[in-house]
């Protein structure tokens, strides 16, 4: 398949972005260098094109009830204007995807899914949706821009776009959103993000995305705002210890193993995977997601073996040199029996490198929530 372009593709090329194919989209992986972009978001503010993310809308009288059945977190408990982070599992209680659920109204719910899973989740929803719930993949019609960093609110308020909604913006709490009409079409603005910093995500019609992108870049000039590529998006989420589908979570991993048990609400009604997750909870998850600090500067990458006393106990899910912390860190899924241990080794291309168990998240911002 020919890779797709987001509405901002030409702008990325013009800005000198290094383009790679990711999940069927041509996306900028870096502009000025991953570390520089990472530090920009940690210290001031950066703009991300996340238009590749999938947006699937459920609508109808059964929309909320159905969303609640598909995901593990409670959608019924949300009021309009609230968003939750959650996973959707299969019947085995393994993760199909992690996603955001926006409760737009009592009859409209927006699911924001990973680009790599849009088609899979769309098919899954079509297969399981009851009558009284319409499933609409709006990905191609929606552009998404993330504004992330300690000066993200200041940037938005410096733009005409944000100025028109200044009071709502200033009062917007973490994991809340508001909607408004812009040129007759719906725009969603939420206080959410994937960087571990204070930040906002804006969903708007694809045709409006480039105009807003340029407006925000202009408004952020004094704050040294700049576009940020997927490379830094990954190192930022890693430092904040957020799961990434295909790394910490996948169809072989349960949310309980990946440290996401807080997303699984057994007290709500039935949901897909409930039975398997309930019995897993009772016997205890086989594996546990842990943080490791690697001695020296070598990087423990996905798939590398984690050992305790010379025995393999698990596998690295993500690892990199954390730019803001100046350490080589890794997340790993290891046998729960070994999770309480402190000193491990990681097989880095045949070398046994010591790694100390450390807490996650690795990085906590003071500005985020």
């Amino acid at each position: 398949m020919t890779p797709k372009k987001t509405p901002l593709y030409e702008a990325h090329v013009a800005a000198g972005g290094k383009i790679v194919e990711f999940a069927g989209f041509l996306m900028p992986v870096t502009f000025e260098g991953i570390v520089a972009e990472h530090n920009r978001v940690r210290t001031t503010v950066g703009l991300f094109d996340v238009s590749h993310m999938g947006e699937i809308e459920l609508s109808g009288t059964k929309a909320v009830e159905f969303a609640d059945y598909v995901v593990t977190n409670s959608v019924a408990k949300l009021v309009a204007g609230q968003v939750c982070y959650t996973v959707a599992c299969n019947e085995d209680g393994k993760v199909l995807d992690d996603l955001l659920v926006y409760r737009l109204s009592d009859e409209r719910v927006l699911l924001v899914v990973n680009a790599v899973n849009t088609e899979k989740i769309h098919d899954h929803l079509i297969d399981t949706a009851p009558s009284g719930c319409t499933v609409d993949d709006r990905t191609d019609r929606i552009g998404q821009i993330a504004v992330q960093g300690p000066r993200s609110l200041e940037l938005l308020l410096a733009s005409g776009f944000g100025q028109s909604h200044a009071e709502k913006l200033k009062g917007l709490a973490y994991y809340n959103f508001f909607t408004f009409e812009r040129d007759g079409e719906e725009v969603i603005l939420s206080r959410t993000g994937y960087t571990g910093e204070q930040g906002y995500e804006i969903y708007l019609p694809a045709g409006q995305a480039l105009g807003l992108w340029n407006e925000l870049l202009g408004a952020g000039k004094g704050m040294k705002a700049a576009p940020i590529g997927l490379g830094a998006r990954d190192t930022l989420r890693f430092e904040a210890s957020y799961c990434l589908y295909g790394h910490e979570i996948d169809e072989e991993t349960s949310p309980l193993e990946a440290g996401l048990s807080w997303l699984v609400k057994f007290k709500k009604g039935d949901f897909i995977g409930r039975k398997a997750l309930a019995s897993e909870k009772e016997r205890g998850p086989a594996r546990t997601l842990v943080g490791l600090e690697i001695e020296g500067r070598m990087i423990a990458r996905q798939g590398f073996t984690v050992l305790y006393n010379g025995e393999s106990v698990g596998t690295v899910t993500s690892g990199t040199f954390a730019p803001a912390l100046g350490k080589s860190l890794a997340m790993a899924l290891i046998q729960s029996a070994a999770a309480g241990k402190g000193e491990f080794t990681i097989d880095i291309r045949g070398k046994m490198i010591p790694a100390m168990r450390v807490g996650i998240p690795f990085y906590k911002s003071r500005s985020k929530d």
């Binding site: 020919t2 500067r297 990087i299 730019p323 080589s328």
Partner: protein, 142 residues
């Protein structure tokens, strides 16, 4: 080192020959920018002997890892400890401060198989063209 006076491998190492058949080794600016932010470099010890195109070290960048291949055979006579302690200098200045090792060559004749600067530039051009062709073919196939 001036890139125009260096010779290059297909793996993007450069060699600059100093007096006394000592070869200074580094990676090209193309390689440094393709790798992105370099966070760790592992280099051989002074006194070790290497053969032409042996892997002699490792470069870890945030996104990827690459081997360093020795463009010539000989004995390692110097290692750039500054680059080991501050690997970002390889990104900043791959031809000067970012050199890796110096090798006392066994056989300067080995240099004949390497690219000179204009051949290397041409090689990079061909590679990019090949990558583009590959993309086109993939699109046609699908």
């Amino acid at each position: 080192m001036v890139p125009e006076e260096c010779q290059f491998t297909k793996e993007h190492e450069w060699v600059f020959v100093e007096e006394g058949n000592v070869a200074v080794i580094g990676i090209s600016d193309y390689a440094a920018s393709e790798l992105g932010d370099i966070v760790y470099i592992e280099l051989p010890e002074v006194g070790s002997h290497v053969k032409q195109m042996d892997p002699i070290g490792t470069i870890e960048a945030v996104k990827t890892v690459a081997d360093i291949f020795s463009p010539v055979s000989g004995e390692i006579v110097a290692v750039n400890t500054d680059a080991v302690s501050a690997p970002e200098i390889v990104n900043k200045d791959p031809y000067e401060d970012g050199w890796f090792v110096k090798i006392k060559m066994n056989d300067p004749g080995e240099l004949d198989v390497l690219f000179d600067h204009s051949e290397y530039t041409e090689f990079l051009g061909e590679q990019e063209a090949a990558d583009a062709d590959e993309d086109d073919m993939e699109e046609e196939e699908e």
